[in-house]
C-alpha cells in the first residue's frame, strides 16, 4: 500500500457520523424541556381583520391596538404545526404593517412586557420574509421596541425555544 493510500484511510471521517449519544436512554429532547404542548390554534383571523377594518371609523386610539394585543396574546409560539404558525405570522405582520409609525407609541403603551417580547419575535420573523417596504416599517417598530425593552428582548428572540 502506498503512503498516499494510508493517508486517505486516516482522513476517513464516516465513523464520526455515528451519534453515540442516541443510544443513551437519558437523552435530551427539546420537547421534554418545553413541557406539555396543548393545541393552540392561533389567532382568529376574522376577528383580527374585522378589528383592522374598523379602524378608519374610529379614533386613533381605536381598534388597531386591540388587534395587535389580540394577535400577540393568541400567538401560537409553542405550536408544532408549521401551517398554523405561518398563518399567525402572516396575520401578525399584516397588523404590524397596517399600524402607522405615528400610532406605534400608542399601541406599545398598551402592551405589557411579555407581549413586547412576543412582538419582537414577530419583528425578527418579519425580517426573514421581507415584502415590498416591510423591512423599513419593521425597523421603525424595532427601534421603538428596543427603546422599551432594550437588548434583553433581542436576546430572548434568539434564546427562547418557543419561536414565532
Amino acid at each position: 500500500m502506498s503512503r498516499n493510500d494510508g493517508r486517505k484511510d486516516t482522513s476517513a471521517s464516516a465513523f464520526r457520523k455515528i451519534d453515540v449519544d442516541q443510544y443513551s436512554d437519558n437523552n435530551f429532547k427539546e420537547e421534554d424541556a418545553d413541557g406539555g404542548v396543548g393545541a393552540p390554534t392561533g389567532p382568529d383571523e376574522n376577528e383580527i381583520l374585522t378589528l383592522l377594518s374598523q379602524y378608519p371609523l374610529q379614533s386613533s386610539r381605536g381598534k388597531n391596538a386591540e388587534a395587535l394585543i389580540s394577535v400577540l396574546k393568541s400567538a401560537p409560539l409553542e405550536c408544532k404545526n408549521q401551517q398554523i404558525k405561518d398563518s399567525a405570522r402572516n396575520l401578525t405582520l399584516k397588523v404590524l404593517l397596517s399600524i402607522k409609525s405615528n400610532q406605534m407609541d400608542d399601541c406599545l403603551a398598551q402592551l405589557d412586557r411579555d407581549l413586547v417580547d412576543v412582538l419582537m419575535k414577530y419583528i425578527y420573523r418579519g425580517f426573514e420574509i421581507p415584502t415590498e417596504g416591510s423591512s423599513s416599517h419593521l425597523l421603525i417598530w424595532h427601534e421603538k421596541v428596543f427603546n422599551i425593552s432594550g437588548v434583553g428582548c433581542i436576546v430572548r428572540v434568539f434564546s427562547d425555544s418557543k419561536r414565532a
Binding site: 437519558n26 421534554d32 411579555d114 417580547d117 425593552s149 437588548v151 434564546s159 427562547d160 418557543k162
Partner: protein, 394 residues
C-alpha cells in the same frame, strides 16, 4: 469605593478567596491556577499550579479547612492542600465522568464538594479516610444536559444545580457514609442521595441555558440567572413559587446573595446590577452599581469633534471603551463580606465593590448633580429612590 486589581493576565475566567481575603486564586483562562498574596506593594504571585491539562472551569477555596478544589475540561478535579513550606499539593479525585467537569463547590461543612459535568451528572465527592482517597457518588436523573452551575444549601445536605436543559433542580445530596442524620428543610426530606426535591423550568417560553444558581443565606430561596437575560427567584416557603424578571440587559453569568433580600448579578453587560426582593417576593431592579463615567481621551476637544465629523461624517469619536469599570464580560462574582463582593472579568481585572460606600456616594453625587444642573425635581426623586433602595440593604 472600589478597588481594582490587575495580575498581569489577559483574562480571568474564575477566582476564589482564602478565609481572610489576603490571598486569591485565579485562573487566567487556561490550564493554570495562580495564587496571589496581597502585600504592601501590591499583589505577589506565590505559586502557579499546573496539574490540569485543559482549561480550568472552576475554583473553590474552603475557608475553614484551607483547601482549594479545582475542576477542569480535562475531566479531572484536584483537591489542593498546603504543605509546611507553603506550596500546594494536589490530590487527584476519582470523578468517573466522561465529559468535562464544568463547576465545583465546597459544601458548607467542607467535608464534601459537588462537581457538575458535561456528561449529565453531578459528582458528590467526599474523603474516604480508610483508603486515603477522594471518592464520589453520582446524581444522574433526571439531568438531561450539561450541568453548568451548583450551589449548596447551608444545611450541607441539599444541592441546587442549573443546567443547559433549561432547568434548575434541587437535589438531596445526603451521603450516608459521612452525614450523620437525614436533613429536613423547606425543600423536603433529604435522606437518599439524588432525590429530586424540586424542579423549575427557566421560563414558560422555553429556552435559556442556566448560567448561575445560588441559595439565599437562610437556604429557603434560590436565585438563578439564565441566557434569556432573566433573573428568577424560587421560594420553598411559598410553595415553590417562582418570580421571574426579564431584564433589558445582556444575559447575566453569575449571581450572589448579599443579605437575605438582595442579589448582585453581572455578566455580558460588564456591570454588576443590584436586584432586591420586596415583601411580596417580587424581584425589582434596585440600582446599577457601576457609575463609572467613560474615560475621556486626552485632548477631546471641539477641534477633535469637528475632525471626526469631517473625516467620518460621524458625531462621536471612535473610541471603543465601555462606559463601565470592567471592559469585558464579568464571569465570576464572589461574596467577600456582608457588604462587599468581588467580580472578575475577561478583561483581566478583579474588582472589589463595597455596597455601603457605593450607595452613599450615589446619593452625594446626585445631590451635586442636582445643585449644578437644572435637573427636574421629579427626575431627581426617581434617581434618589434608586440609590436609597441600595442604601437600605447595608
Amino acid at each position: 469605593m472600589t478597588e481594582i486589581y490587575n495580575f498581569g493576565v489577559d483574562a480571568i475566567s474564575c477566582h476564589a478567596w482564602n478565609r481572610d481575603r489576603t490571598e486569591v486564586a485565579i485562573c487566567p483562562n487556561n490550564n493554570e491556577i495562580q495564587v496571589h498574596r496581597r502585600t504592601s506593594s501590591g499583589w505577589k504571585l506565590l505559586e502557579t499550579m499546573e496539574e490540569h491539562d485543559m482549561a480550568v472551569m472552576g475554583i473553590d477555596w474552603s475557608p475553614k479547612t484551607n483547601r482549594i478544589v479545582t475542576c477542569s475540561a480535562d475531566k479531572n478535579a484536584y483537591v489542593w492542600t498546603q504543605k509546611e513550606d507553603g506550596k500546594w499539593d494536589p490530590a487527584w479525585v476519582l470523578l468517573r465522568i466522561n465529559r468535562a467537569a464544568t463547576c465545583v463547590k465546597w459544601s458548607p461543612l467542607e467535608n464534601k464538594f459537588a462537581v457538575g459535568s458535561g456528561g449529565r451528572v453531578i459528582a458528590i465527592c467526599y474523603f474516604a479516610s480508610e483508603n486515603n482517597w477522594w471518592l464520589c457518588k453520582h446524581i444522574k436523573r433526571p439531568l438531561r444536559s450539561t450541568v453548568t452551575t451548583v450551589d449548596w444549601h447551608p444545611d450541607n445536605k441539599v444541592l441546587v444545580a442549573g443546567s443547559t436543559d433549561y432547568k434548575v433542580r434541587v437535589f438531596s445530596a445526603f451521603i450516608s457514609d459521612i452525614d450523620d442524620a437525614p436533613g429536613t428543610t423547606p425543600w423536603g426530606q433529604s435522606n437518599t442521595l439524588g432525590t429530586l426535591l424540586a424542579e423549575f423550568p427557566n421560563t414558560p417560553n422555553g429556552g435559556g441555558w442556566i448560567h448561575s444558581v445560588a441559595f439565599s443565606p437562610c437556604g429557603n430561596k434560590i436565585c438563578w440567572v439564565a441566557h434569556n437575560s432573566s433573573i428568577c427567584v424560587a421560594d420553598a416557603t411559598k410553595g415553590n413559587a417562582v418570580m421571574r424578571l426579564y431584564t433589558e440587559h445582556l444575559p447575566f453569568l453569575s449571581c450572589v446573595w448579599i443579605g437575605s433580600n438582595n442579589i448582585v448579578a453581572a455578566g455580558h453587560s460588564c456591570m454588576p446590577m443590584l436586584y432586591s426582593i420586596d415583601d411580596n417576593g417580587q424581584i425589582y431592579f434596585a440600582s446599577k452599581l457601576d457609575n463609572t463615567q467613560k474615560k475621556e481621551i486626552a485632548g477631546l476637544s471641539a477641534m477633535r469633534k469637528f475632525q471626526s465629523l469631517d473625516r467620518q461624517a460621524r458625531n462621536e469619536t471612535n473610541d471603543n471603551a465601555l462606559d463601565s469599570m470592567h471592559q469585558n464580560t464579568i464571569n465570576c462574582i464572589r461574596r467577600v463580606s456582608d457588604h462587599e463582593f468581588s467580580t472578575s472579568s475577561l478583561d483581566g481585572q478583579l474588582v472589589v465593590w463595597d455596597l455601603k460606600v457605593i450607595c452613599v456616594l450615589c446619593v452625594i453625587l446626585l445631590l451635586i448633580i442636582m445643585i449644578y444642573s437644572n435637573l427636574s425635581f421629579f427626575f431627581f426623586i426617581k434617581l434618589l429612590e434608586n440609590s436609597i433602595a441600595g442604601l437600605k440593604i447595608v
